[in-house]
């Protein structure tokens, strides 16, 4: 199954795959195309605090209900493609944002979690250097976060 899925995706270019995914019912067209209101200000912030503010929140608190899950690494294998997975067990989770503190712009992504959806997101971010990353959850109007350092190293010299 998995190898078939991989071959299909390798065979098809991005557009074809998108079309296939839509026609297979994996993605609804409006999801593939729709762009929720773009919060330009938030994506231009340069610190954790400013991002929370730009997203319309006040003080965010650290909460163990927000969690970086596998395969989020401690040391990135490739800074250009760092896998990040976040889960939230906080009731009424509305959105999950990923912030990379030392990137030129802090906010890397913000996912809206519709009511009734499992708060689980998985994506990849680009990191220029070792940095703390934050998973910022909005739940019932309040903000919660988890923090983790991801090292971007020059490699070699091990073992």
């Amino acid at each position: 199954m998995n190898s078939v899925r991989r071959e299909v995706l390798k065979a098809g270019g991005g557009v074809t795959v998108m079309a296939l995914a839509v026609s297979a019912g994996l993605l609804r067209p409006e999801e593939a195309l729709a762009q929720a209101a773009w919060n330009k200000a938030a994506f231009e912030t340069r610190s954790f605090a400013d991002t929370v503010k730009a997203l319309g929140g006040a003080a965010a608190v650290e909460n163990p209900g927000v969690r970086f899950a596998s395969p989020t690494p401690e040391i990135a294998e490739n800074g250009a493609l760092v896998p990040v997975t976040v889960t939230s067990s906080i009731p009424k989770t509305e959105s999950i944002a990923i912030l990379v503190e030392k990137n030129p712009n802090t906010l890397a992504a913000n996912f809206v979690v519709p009511n009734g959806t499992e708060p689980f997101i998985s994506t990849r971010v680009k990191m220029g250097q070792t940095s703390d990353i934050y998973a910022l959850v909005k739940a019932d109007g309040r903000y919660y976060y988890a923090k983790k350092e991801i090292k971007v190293t020059i490699g070699g010299c091990g073992g």
């Binding site: 040391i75 294998e77 091990g158």
Partner: protein, 582 residues
């Protein structure tokens, strides 16, 4: 004769200690103790035999344990970060004994002459057979780094080691350096050479934490279930989590590694509960190549593992550390390197759970254990085509040549000196590998000995112009790999060896503030000035250059006699009272 007068006197003293100076009753008592050295009291319901990081050492050798192995953060002054007398005291080992020689660097040359070489697969095979025959039902596990570390393993792409491991009866393994032969070679070996053939059974290649980079799909079998004396036992494999970072990523471009606690916890729960009508495992073991400090942290967070049989950091730790976690406790071991040790973990199982254990980490003294004939023949056969090349004598060493230690070793210093001289460089870097055998004062350095220090699939030497700021960044980056306060951010190697440049190091400082007072020829290094830096083992794709063994070989042939090298080690600060140094 290239022995110094002091060394010669040490040899005489060693001879006296083994014979003349002892009275007859004491001598026969020592002989009787030697005869019982490998007799373990019968205990428990099943036995797990474990060796790790043998680095392809088919023949007995010397391997000097470190005199600097600093603990930082929570690891300070605890196993495995204890050396010399500190280690002896912690584990109640008497100085001067066989065990003291095997587990420490103390009085190394003299003790090595007294107790002889350690390891070798022919001797290991005899010991495995004895421990299989003496004890309860048994599994033999290999923690990885078996296919790399010698000329013959490199030249046969690990085939010599796979043959020897099959004959030894290894039942499961995990891996790290194995991956540096490239993903295709590993897949080929796992699919064919580890299985089938004339010998019964096969070697299970286990790695729960290796996934494809695209969909996170598992690449290898994560675990194996075996019944030992009626007890279902699960062995889960954990490959080295930072393989594509410490080693060239382009050799396994489509595989992703990492510690992956989440999947490990799922697997532990899965094997414990049983599947498809099969009974759940009553004993769960992680065969790990994480490195000991990572294993200690993991044991406190992942529940349901009875024992972590660990490797990678080459720590010969005489007794397990017991780690408490939310649902019980986990034994954490580390079984040394270079074929020196065989670990025996005997477990007693009552009421479906491990109730008690005994652990011994046995040094494999070649002169106490007769060679297994079948294994000896196999080793001779695999070496035969290469005999002339292996045996070439390059030079004679006047001093003790070893590698292991956090900051430098004398064999690394020889490599650094060779690189600076041959490449006309002001500064040289050599990777902080923890493998590589030890030569005694007066020993010839053969080409095979040189390969024991250098046999990798990316051996290229380089000459690079770097400014002082870049050099500082590299040293800070590598230093963080072994002194980061959080073990999950460590890669388990040692500090890059540095030639030409002197510096001070404060391991307790934050990254960026650890490397201090860098000087070249007494003058401070300048951030904006360019320097010529020689190095080897580049991890970047497309790298090329003369192989390190050719460069060092040429250097050694020209020198003929290698004087004891002047070891360039940084002055350390903030380490008073650290028992990871002497």
């Amino acid at each position: 004769m290239s022995l110094s007068r002091r060394e010669f006197l040490q040899v005489l003293a060693a001879a006296a200690a083994t014979g003349m100076a002892l009275d007859a009753p004491a001598q026969s008592a020592a002989a009787a103790a030697d005869a019982r050295f490998y007799d373990l009291p019968r205990f428990g319901d099943l036995r797990l035999l474990h060796f790790t990081d043998c680095h392809a050492q088919l023949l007995p050798s010397h391997f000097r344990e470190p005199d600097v192995n600093l603990g930082v953060g929570e690891g300070i002054n605890r196993p495995p970060n204890l050396v010399g007398e500190h280690l002896l005291r912690e584990f109640g080992i008497r100085p001067g004994t066989r065990d003291a020689h095997a587990f420490t660097h103390l009085d190394f040359s003299r003790a090595a002459r007294r107790y002889g070489k350690i390891g070798g697969f022919a001797h290991l095979a005899t010991l495995v057979k004895k421990l299989r025959a003496d004890g309860p039902p048994c599994l033999l596990l290999d923690g990885g780094d078996s296919w790399q570390g010698s000329a013959t393993s490199l030249w046969t792409e690990g085939r010599d080691m796979i043959g020897a491991s099959r004959l030894l009866g290894v039942e499961a393994m995990t891996a790290h350096w194995e991956f540096t032969y490239g993903a295709e070679r590993v897949k080929q070996a796992v699919a064919k050479e580890l299985q089938g053939g004339e010998l019964p059974g096969g070697i299970e290649f286990l790695a729960q934490n290796v996934k494809t980079t695209d969909f996170n799909d598992p690449v290898f079998k994560p675990y194996v279930l075996r019944e030992l004396g009626g007890v279902p036992v699960a062995i889960i494999g954990q490959a080295f989590p930072y393989t594509p970072i410490s080693n060239p990523r382009h050799l396994m471009p489509e595989w992703s590694f990492g510690i992956d606690e989440d999947r490990l916890q799922q697997l532990v729960d899965e094997v414990r509960s049983g599947r498809g009508g099969k009974a759940g495992a009553q004993v769960v073991v992680l065969l790990s190549h994480n490195g000991m400090s990572v294993d200690l942290k993991l044991a406190s967070r992942v529940t349901g593992i009875d024992a972590i049989l660990g490797g990678h950091t080459h720590d010969g730790v005489p007794a397990p550390t017991l780690v408490a976690n939310a649902r019980g406790r986990t034994l954490v071991t580390n079984a040394g390197s270079n074929g020196k040790f065989l670990a025996a973990l005997d477990l007693e199982v009552r009421g479906g759970r491990v109730s008690d254990f005994r652990y011994r980490l046995l040094p494999v003294f070649a002169n106490l254990i007769p060679a297994d004939e079948e294994m000896r023949t196999l080793i001779e056969t695999v070496r035969a085509p290469f005999k002339d090349r292996l045996g070439e004598k390059l030079a004679v060493t006047e001093g003790l040549l070893y590698r292991r230690g956090n900051f430098n070793g004398t064999f690394d210093q020889v490599i650094l000196d060779a690189m600076m001289e041959q490449k006309n460089a002001e500064i040289a870097f050599s990777p902080g590998f923890r493998w590589g055998t030890t030569l005694l004062p007066g020993d010839a350095i053969s080409f095979e000995d040189l390969m024991d220090q250098t046999a990798i699939t990316y051996p290229f030497t380089t000459l690079t112009v770097m400014n002082g700021a870049t050099i500082k960044n590299i040293l800070e980056d590598v230093c963080d790999n072994f002194v980061n306060p959080d073990p999950y951010y460590r890669q388990g190697g040692d500090m890059v060896r540095v030639g030409g440049l002197t510096y001070r190091c404060d391991p307790r400082a934050r990254m960026g503030a650890r490397i201090l007072d860098m000087r070249l020829g007494g003058k401070p290094l300048q951030a904006g000035k360019d320097y010529k830096v020689a190095g080897w083992a580049p991890v970047a794709e497309g790298a090329s250059g003369e192989p390190i063994w050719d460069l060092v070989g040429r250097h050694l042939r020209a020198k003929k006699i290698i004087k004891p090298p002047r070891l360039n080690r940084p002055a350390l600060q903030g380490v008073a009272g650290n028992r990871g140094m002497v």
